[in-house]
């Protein structure tokens, strides 16, 4: 019975990856990117929002895994190995989204042969490359039950650099002030950390559930502690979110913020606010719910759903209002709903994440605690 469930699980993940391969074939080789709901107005849509979501979660996981190594808070050590492996799995998901976003991914070789050091996108590519190598090295050390403080600190620094550089990337264009680089450089690492705490809670508690390993007193205390930290991060994320709404939505009169003002009435914005922040925060604020496994899992899952919607809302807010010659014959605001192929991008990225993680969980003893 168990083996049938496992085979079904692998079959489902395999299907997700097949959908990704089919999408890659259709967009890159046969039909083209017309399969996505992208236009020359909405040049970035769900695949890039998914990339931002996964890459920031991965950076956030680096913050979580560095808590015992970099900050010396030893009670988080039992999470270290699972978190470190999750960072790699989530990063693979981010790369999957990126691959299915790029029009000519084979030209990425020019990152090396024709680098533009002034471009935040070049730096981001390089930093993520270094980040992946560091993660693999760190995990190898942890797997061998060794701890390298130097490697941990370096990974932590690169994780800060990647998540803040993503803010630089979005905030570079002066023509789109709705993406404020200074704001995003703080908001991205913070919410990435929140997504990471949610992911650690979800995956750790899922491990206990599926492996039928009851939570020990120590585990219970650790996850309660983690939930409190998750709640604190959510409070700050909500404060940032509200101030972004006030500054860009309510008080800005500049035409460039009109797209964001339009997004305030969109479903994506409200999912991000209510499903992603208000409801999970309310759940975590109640001690009885916070201490219950279902409470932690629900709050973490809702936060991740809301974060994903928020990433999409943020990407769309700077693009949704056509300007200049591209506004000719167009409605004031472009409408967006993902096509099935864009959904496949997200589904395949999630399948890659879960497949890598499942294999790691089964083969690499992610519950081991490094000395």
């Amino acid at each position: 019975m168990k083996s049938i469930k496992v085979q079904l699980w692998y079959g489902l993940l395999g299907l997700g990856i097949l959908l990704g391969l089919l999408t890659a074939y259709r967009v890159l080789i046969s039909t083209g990117f017309v399969l996505y709901a992208k236009t020359d107005i909405l040049v970035w849509t769900m695949p890039i929002a998914a990339y931002v979501f996964f890459s920031l979660t991965s950076s956030g996981l680096a913050f979580v895994s560095s808590i015992p190594v970099v900050f010396g808070i030893k009670r988080y050590q039992p999470l270290e190995k699972r978190t470190a492996f999750l960072e790699i799995a989530v990063l693979f998901a981010a790369f999957t989204c990126l691959l299915l976003h790029l029009g000519s991914p084979w030209n990425v070789v020019y990152y090396l042969f024709s680098p533009n050091l002034a471009s935040p996108l070049w730096w981001l590519g390089m930093l993520y490359g270094i980040y992946l190598i560091l993660l693999l090295l760190s995990f190898r050390k942890i797997h061998k039950a060794q701890v390298s403080k130097g490697l941990g600190i370096f990974t932590f620094i690169i994780a800060i650099a990647t998540s803040t550089a993503l803010g630089w990337l979005f905030g570079l264009p002066d023509a789109r002030p709705a993406y404020n680089a200074n704001f995003l450089a703080m908001y991205f690492p913070l919410t990435g950390f929140g997504s990471a705490l949610a992911a650690v809670l979800l995956f750790s508690l899922a491990y206990h559930h599926f492996a039928k390993i009851p939570l020990s007193e120590g585990d219970r205390n650790l996850y309660d502690d983690l939930s409190k930290l998750f709640g604190v991060v959510m409070v700050f994320a909500l404060i940032f979110f509200i101030w972004r709404t006030i500054v860009g939505g309510a008080s800005a009169t500049a035409a460039e913020f009109a797209g964001f003002r339009h997004m305030l009435s969109s479903g994506w914005y409200h999912i991000a606010l209510w499903v992603g922040l208000v409801i999970p925060l309310a759940l975590i604020a109640m001690p009885a719910v916070r201490q219950a496994t279902w409470g932690k899992v629900t709050a973490a899952a809702l936060f991740l759903v809301g974060m994903f919607a928020g990433r999409l809302e943020m990407v769309l807010s700077g693009l949704v209002m056509p300007t200049g010659p591209k506004a000719e014959g167009q409605p004031t605001f472009a409408s967006y709903w993902p096509t099935i192929w864009e959904v496949f991008v997200f589904a395949s990225a999630l399948a890659v994440l879960l497949l890598v993680y499942t294999l790691g969980e089964r083969k690499l003893k992610l519950s081991d605690v490094p000395e």
Binding site: D40, G103, S114, D174, P325
Partner: protein, 242 residues
């Protein structure tokens, strides 16, 4: 080394769109992509309304955000001030589109000129199909109207998955010719030249009339200038009233 610029005289421009058609023919621009474009708007309330027409193209900014943002230098500046694009280095990230404040860069979402590979007749039983037409005219190798001269500095047709935009007809400049939109303008509303030559016609116009450029506050230093605005006629003097 020259520093090329274009002056567009809005008093002369009649809004015929010949520049856009000429550009499309010269550069084999596919459907849905506009190297040469326009911004139109109406002002006033009926019956007192006016139609405004502003021709647009890549501004070949001296401090081009698309060039700054491009990770692989696929978007780059020539010494003569032209902002060029190399499809061979383009990864198709569309960050240049994201960065361009003027919305003049387009992405090839699918194979260019796909229409000419359609085997379905436009009118069933009445006309030949686009594919048959392309086959008859050019052995099916390209579109019936493809200009091979474009291939001197860029692929004749840019592949799917990369961006493209106006190049000030750099291939024509190399041959000592002016951009084709300038050549084709029936009203001589577009004037092209070298800003480094003090006595060039562009400098003469920029000195004679107060020019402006699009979104100057962004500091991108565009090299497309606009002078004058269409002046319909004088009006009878009035102090208005309440």
């Amino acid at each position: 080394m020259p520093k090329y610029a274009m002056v567009i005289d809005l008093q002369r421009c009649v809004g015929c769109g010949a520049c856009s058609i000429a550009c499309r023919n010269e550069n084999n621009v596919p459907d849905g992509i506009y190297w040469s474009n326009k911004i139109t708007e109406t002002s006033g309330t009926f019956p007192n309304v006016r139609f405004h027409y502003l021709p647009t193209l890549c501004n070949h900014c001296s401090d081009a955000p698309c060039v700054t943002g491009c990770p692989t230098k696929a978007m780059y500046k020539l010494d003569n001030g032209i902002t060029m694009h190399d499809p061979k280095k383009c990864i198709g990230c569309r960050y240049c589109q994201y960065n361009c404040p003027y919305e003049v860069i387009y992405f090839n979402w699918q194979e260019p000129h796909k229409f000419w590979r359609d085997p379905k007749p436009v009118i069933e039983g009445g006309t030949s199909s686009p594919k048959e037409m392309a086959q008859k005219v050019n052995n099916g190798n390209a579109t019936p109207y493809s200009n091979p001269d474009r291939a001197k500095t860029l692929p004749e047709n840019r592949p799917k998955g990369v961006v493209e935009k106006c190049t000030f007809c750099d291939h024509r400049l190399k041959a000592g010719e002016i951009p084709f939109c300038v050549e084709a303008c029936p009203a001589d509303a577009r004037v092209f030249g070298d800003l480094d030559k003090p006595d060039s016609r562009v400098n003469w116009l920029l000195g004679k009339y107060k020019p402006y450029r699009l979104k100057e506050r962004l500091g991108t230093e565009p090299n497309v200038y606009y002078i004058r605005s269409f002046n319909p006629a004088h009006y009878q003097r009035t102090k208005g009233g309440i």
